[in-house]
Symmetry: C2
Subunit: 414 residues, 2 copies
Amino acid sequence: MSELPQDLYGQIDPPQRLLMGPGPVNAHPRVLRAMSADLLGQFDPEMTDYMNQVMALYRPVFGTANHWTMLVDGTARAGIEAALVSLIQSGEMALVVNFGRFGLLLQEILTRIGARYETIDAPWGEVVPMEAIAEAARRLQPRLICTVHGDTSTTMAQPLNGIGAIAREVGALVYVDATATIGGMEIASDRWGVDVVTGGLQKCLGGPSGSSPITLSDAAAALILGRRHVEKGIARDDIEDGHGAMIGSNYFDLAMVMDYWSPKRLNHHTEATTMLYGARECARIALGEGLAARFARHAAAGRAMTAGLRAMGLTVFGDDAHRMTNVTGVWIPQGVDGERIRLMMREAFEIEIGTAFGPLQGRIWRLGAMGYNAMKHKVLITLSALEACLKAEGFRPPLGEAVPAAMAAWEMQA
Amino acid sequence: MSELPQDLYGQIDPPQRLLMGPGPVNAHPRVLRAMSADLLGQFDPEMTDYMNQVMALYRPVFGTANHWTMLVDGTARAGIEAALVSLIQSGEMALVVNFGRFGLLLQEILTRIGARYETIDAPWGEVVPMEAIAEAARRLQPRLICTVHGDTSTTMAQPLNGIGAIAREVGALVYVDATATIGGMEIASDRWGVDVVTGGLQKCLGGPSGSSPITLSDAAAALILGRRHVEKGIARDDIEDGHGAMIGSNYFDLAMVMDYWSPKRLNHHTEATTMLYGARECARIALGEGLAARFARHAAAGRAMTAGLRAMGLTVFGDDAHRMTNVTGVWIPQGVDGERIRLMMREAFEIEIGTAFGPLQGRIWRLGAMGYNAMKHKVLITLSALEACLKAEGFRPPLGEAVPAAMAAWEMQA
């Protein structure tokens, strides 16, 4: 312990920073307060009631009547892996709709599972046409079609209307990673006809990272329960194993997670109670606001951010028709050092804006306005600060134009 | 949304229940307060400072100088799977020291990885002699020796002094699941000579489930970095892939988790900020109290609980010489319905005590006194309540004997 300071680094005391990047964003204070409630035993009736409430609260958030709607205990990426490892097995074929970094992540996880896959790609900044997905699905006859809904790496949102019909035609299921859009753009699981959708709290739901809401269609649940292999230590006569291949992960075995979230309450992990309290409050806030109002608020914030950036003389990245409402990419102007601007934004204004990945690293910034931060004043503050920083770094933006343009765009009908 | 109540189930408001089972237990209020701090961007300098502080704070908690000491974002079981999937691969041989349900869990995870294993077993209620481990290791020549430290299913703590020397003799690494003992009994990673140890917050560290501290020896880190395969979406010229087999999980790929916790800050998951704040405060509380004082407090609580139960005429479960200090098993007396007692404890006294698993289900209760609940008054309250419930259910305990016996045992030198 000799290297530790006497005060053990002191009480937690982060700066009050406005997080206007691609996420995480500032959590809604109600979420953080809910997380300070004392714990319960994992099988106490009040705890299992809270679990059932979470199931009910997340169904409308996912736009579904699916019974199996619950949480995976881990970050959004945990939900993605739980979905994939439970849905597909070594040697089976998947089709990946790929238009950004998180499409690459889907491929990466499929590789580790030992699944085969082909991709149908769009250049970064575009989405994949539904006819191209249909054509690839018919040719490939995959077991699973996987796609991201909104990929923050490119700020694009893939249209998903009709994907379920294509999947049913070829006998596939559909998995959707909605981490970056859930709670901010409409997730219409049932209308899209998709089978498994996962999310995270740390973007449009305005909570901390660490819990991944998930919903499963009856078809997905049947497939997964067919792969059920209950642990030896907790096997019971009334729970039968399935005939399918054992799922490659214990922690991400959704059959066991379902048994834990069912009246059987079969012990698996110890539910992350505090994160569940937070996830519950995120959904209560979203439904209390009203989902339609919430989507409109995110759309207004996206319009305002985009209009403000353009009024500053900047070029917004990517295809206008398919932009996510909650995160906006913008080209770093020639001659400007993107990291110096980000540093000044943080040090002078306590505002975080995002850098980028892969082919866009150092070329675009990503500005988010999501969840608790999808508010007019936060968009205006961010634009004002960015204007000042650009000016300080020698770029000559039209001065004083961004704020009125953003205000007008906020009020505009979508 | 038609089925949701208008108040969306209302604010979170759990009963103030005393959790005296095998965990989770009530969180220390300082931990819950720390978790209400606002979020930071995951690469903000204050956030990466907090990550570095967590590394430094958990080294003494693990009894190690290991550089690689960090968090896995998930429950304790996530840490176990991350360790195993990163350390061993399909076809390789492991030796499992098995003396309870969590030894079965290790086998279960190894099976899913495709590893081969043999077990060296003790009956539930005993531990495995070190000579038997040595003999099995010499015969089997495993790549990995896996053991639980304290298995709450049997309340036994496996002695681990000497296991590292055995492993080095046969060229194996050692993995230890210390979920149930970390922060309550000594974890001497370096003195034991073990390579990877994982824990959880929800037992003796007095925090919520959802974050798994982990430490890796240099040898373990070298093995794991030899299996590094960086995701396509974030590959960088300065980070080389290893020649070893790809780790079967992306989320649990400790090579990528290490790159995220290193100055490279290679993006993997989005760190569960609020859980990290909680984990940080758990360690600050443990180190602020002093680890030796904390272990003595848990030992006093265990002595007091055991003495009180015996003074009530009950028979304590398992081998006295290897009992965990923080959880005590006790036989349910003949003619008493264990679940009716647990119900009355909860409904009349708002106290939770634990049931049991597998061969002990319905036969023993498990009473914990860990973390924030390893306190004299909480042990005395629990014993008094249990005495009243046993009397109400027709069992005739010697009345008024448990509390003085527990008080005397609390004061006794270990």
